[in-house]
């Protein structure tokens, strides 16, 4: 993968902004005028040297309060890879921002203060990372300069985290000792930690192989838009535009169209002024079908042999994101799932996750802002359910408030259910 998206998580004092600032600064991604304005801002805060953290704090309130409020996106490239960083504040009140930043990330950087080791914040960040299906985690054991670059200290923190990762089932964990303030093991290898033989952070990020499960899943093609030119050259053209969410599709392939439940074949695949024979996950194309069918936005073209479950009821993990209301059972929403938007009701709140100790409280009365738990959702029209664990694109959804039309929750599908026993 030549474009690596990663999310960073750390709390106010972990040095996360400094770490990102260092990554950008030492890879020469910071421009001179930015440095000049940074120096000016650092001086205004009474600091002698450039505060690299100011590089990432973009909003007025953030600079004034010295905290990160919102997810900021940063870009940098080396000759080996382009990187998109979703820089997320880590405090408990910003859980929704971390969930947002993690939703499109393939890898997570979790910062740990070497002096403190694994703390409640670390457990929270790790749990969210696991919940959002991120399989690669880099633990940045920062501030090694403040523990005399002690190997014993590092090994202790590493041991703590590996135990946590095992518990959460995070597959690939890499632990790197570093100092963001002095730049040790960020871009340049550390000179003060001869006992550490692994890569510096940047080298690791440039070379880590990230598997994209969508590439080898079954075909999922949510129809986004129907292209009908009505021109003399393309008079009868009818193409279903969309992005392949998982698997691959080729001309001649037998497919199943949902919710119609009709089987047909792919007549052709089009992309601007060409008709490639096939397309794979991530490609934005138009598909032509052999039979004339009533297909529109919100329908799905899927693998004929391994379709998703078509259902009105399913369970999901849900993160409540509204700061003006709480989630109560039987509340109604719009659900947006792939390109499909239908009315739904959150039938029940089944449990609530206490993030730091991973305990689950059953049948909570409500979810407040930033709370996460298991729910059962019933939809007015059927939806096409894949478990989030197997398909991120077709297993994720958002809930939209019917009155304000704001996004109030992020959901990850778990299991399709049959109709309730008593209606």
């Amino acid at each position: 993968m030549d474009l690596l998206r990663f999310v960073t998580a750390g709390s106010v004092d972990d040095g996360k902004s400094t770490l990102i600032g260092r990554l950008l600064y030492d890879t020469k991604q910071v421009f001179e005028d930015t440095i000049v304005s940074l120096r000016r801002a650092s001086e205004a805060q009474g600091l002698g040297e450039i505060n690299l953290a100011l590089l990432t704090d973009g909003l007025r309130a953030e600079r004034e309060q010295g905290i990160t409020i919102d997810v900021a996106y940063r870009y940098f490239a080396t000759p080996r890879r382009k990187f998109i960083i979703a820089d997320s504040p880590g405090h408990v009140q910003y859980t929704r921002n971390m969930v947002t930043g993690a939703s499109n990330a393939e890898l997570a950087l979790i910062l740990v203060d070497a002096r403190k080791g694994v703390v409640e914040q670390t457990r929270r960040h790790s749990a969210l990372t696991a919940l959002l299906g991120i399989r690669n985690v880099v633990v940045c054991v920062n501030k090694m300069d403040l523990v005399d670059s002690s190997e014993a200290r590092f090994r202790k923190v590493e041991g703590q985290f590996r135990q946590l990762a095992d518990h959460l089932g995070v597959e690939h964990v890499t632990v790197i000792p570093m100092s963001a303030v002095s730049g040790e093991n960020i871009v340049h290898a550390a000179t003060t930690m001869p006992w550490y033989e692994g890569p510096a952070l940047l080298e690791f990020l440039e070379t880590v192989e990230v598997d994209d499960p969508a590439q080898h899943g079954a075909l999922r093609f949510p129809v986004q838009y129907v292209v009908r030119p009505h021109t003399t050259t393309h008079h009868d053209y009818r193409g279903y535009a969309g992005t392949v969410a998982s698997g691959s599709v080729h001309a001649g392939q037998e497919v199943l169209v949902l919710p119609l439940g009709v089987r047909t074949r792919v007549a052709g695949i089009d992309r601007y002024r060409e008709s490639p024979g096939c397309a794979q996950a991530g490609d934005a194309v138009s598909i032509r079908l052999e039979d004339e069918l009533d297909v529109g936005r919100g329908n799905m073209i899927t693998d004929a042999g391994a379709p998703p479950a078509v259902t009105n009821r399913f369970t999901a993990d849900l993160c409540w994101m509204s700061d003006t209301s709480k989630l109560l059972p039987r509340q109604q929403f719009w659900i947006k799932h792939t390109t499909r938007r239908v009315r739904c009701v959150v039938e029940s709140l089944d449990d609530r996750l206490n993030v730091p100790d991973f305990a689950r409280e059953t049948a909570p009365a409500a979810f407040e802002l930033n709370e996460i738990g298991r729910v059962t959702v019933r939809t007015l029209e059927p939806v096409f359910v894949d478990p989030y664990a197997t398909s991120r694109d077709t297993g994720s959804f958002i809930l939209i408030d019917v009155a304000t039309r704001r996004t109030v929750a992020a959901g990850m599908m778990r299991e399709a259910l049959g109709e309730p026993a008593t209606a």
Binding site: L59, R60, D70, A77, I84, S103, P229, A241, R273
Partner: protein
Amino acid sequence: MTITAIAEESMRHRELDALEAEAVFIMREVAAEFERPALLFSGGKDSIVLLRIAEKAFWPAKFPFPVMHVDTGHNFPEVIEFRDRRVAEVGARLLVASVQEAIDAGRVVEESGVRASRNRLQTPVLLEAIAEHQLDAAIGGARRDEEKARAKERVFSFRDEFGQWDPRNQRPELWRLFNGMHVKGEHMRVFPLSNWTELDIWHYIEREALEIPSIYFAHERDVFERDGMLMSVSPHLPMLPRETPFRATVRYRTVGDMTCTAAVASTAADVRTVIEEVAVARVTERGASRADDQFSEAAMEDRKREGYF
């Protein structure tokens, strides 16, 4: 080509493919979720890429929305000529929101003094045009790498009934699930190129062989220096007593209003040499050429709150 150069080239192609697919997806979401969208087209390089993405997203059909330009009346003539030609080529309908007309009609008041600029007047004129044409979405070419307030803006950026952006009250935006729902009077700004960098734009222009206005390439021009920046001599921008014009070989890194867009000294005469220049540039494009961002640490954030692009 060396093996490393070939590997880098193919990496870049895959990276551009991914950015293009993401932008096409967003463009289609806009067409599907909004009733009256329009694409903001200034004739600048980012909006040129945006227009090509729109062409691709709906091919072989034409893209199903008009193109809109907020014309300050102080634009570079080369760019206006290019705008009209390009819009005619793609067969789109062009809506022009004219700052001059708004001034003439007394709807906005022109700044006075030597440093007067129509840059700020674009905001009320844009908001008026959005209301007049009842637009519910305006697709723009802004990128998050341009500026630190932009770095925090959503792809679907919600505007209240006054057209304002509230950075502390943005909708969460997750996965590929963009929420376009709104009530009448509110609208959305949509930025399909959010994840592109300046260099990505240039690589894409090269790969797609896109035509761009001539002022992006090195040319001779009468300029004068102001606040360390090279401004074009023009009737729209009176010189101060101690400013003296001279002839220089320059090009533009961004294309905006003549009163606030500066040139950079350059001999880059084609896309390839521009890319080489951008790749080693040590100053951001807005820092190099946009006087409008220099006023304060939060100049862009403040303008965006008011409803700027």
